[in-house]
Amino acid sequence: MYIIVVGGGRLGYYLTKALISEGHEVVIVEKNPTICQNINDELGSVCIRGDGCEAATLTEIGTARADMLIAVTGDDEDNLVACQVAKHKFNVPRIIARVRNPQNETIFKKLGIDVTVSSTNIILENIKEELPTHPLTHLLTIRDKGLEIVEIKIPPDSTTIGKSLKELSLPEGSRLALIIPKEHNPRVPTSDTILRDGDRVIAVTTPESEAALRAALRGA
């Protein structure tokens, strides 16, 4: 695939490195000449000095034939515009924007950017996962279905311990996929599976049912 990366910061650099090693054709667009030079010294001639929001620069690097554009500068507004220019002027089929401010995720969606990656939210989620008291971790979002895969820990004070799954009233739209017990091997749950202290439940749910699912599994 031909992939354009806008922004040669740390994220842009490592992303490009990874994409190149997967065999893709990659061009980075970066404004700062020193950063540009450093990238070219390390990765070969992959970095073009220019503004990734400017149609002239994007024309020069053949954006019209690009399969994907990924905007990963540190400024949300620059990522938004780079993606919109790529989408509307060059008809790039797939665009991905990095979002620094988590609030902008919904704004970007409303403005036509389908795929956003919120670096702040990912870091927050990773840190929260390490907190022993944190009840629910987001593992994966399945955007086109509006679903997410989450992990819910069953702490010792849960009133559901010792109950079978059929005794619990799980919210509509939620499915349990896997139970990882503290001691034993992971198993696919059935209606007769008994919940134990320390179980980790992997479930598929809609974002709306998330709280209800958590309450159902741990006892409200």
Partner: protein
Amino acid sequence: MGCGRVGAQLAGLLDSNGHLVTILDTDDYSFRRLPPTFSGTALVGNGLNEEVLKKAGIEEADAFVAVTQGDNRNVMASQIAKHIFNVPRVICRIYDPLRQELYSTLGLEAFSPTTIFAQILREKLES
């Protein structure tokens, strides 16, 4: 949004014509540009932030104008005003003529001072 020379002057003109004006800037030092007679509201904050925009009264606004130094900031703020808060009239300054063209075709009322001023100069020189 943006209390530079253009923003401050526009805010002053609209204010003296009896409109209710709120001007936003990230730096309160910029408000020194407002005329001493300005009776509107000067608010420190980032116009890309929905909360700040609400505080500025965007939900009741009849018009929103983005004239910061950053084209992309103006574009993003204008789109938020138009598509999220449904402000009836939104005007956006975009220095880059190509970007201005694109966003005009996408339905944003956008002006490029670069294009306009170049035209004015050409007309002066050719007349």
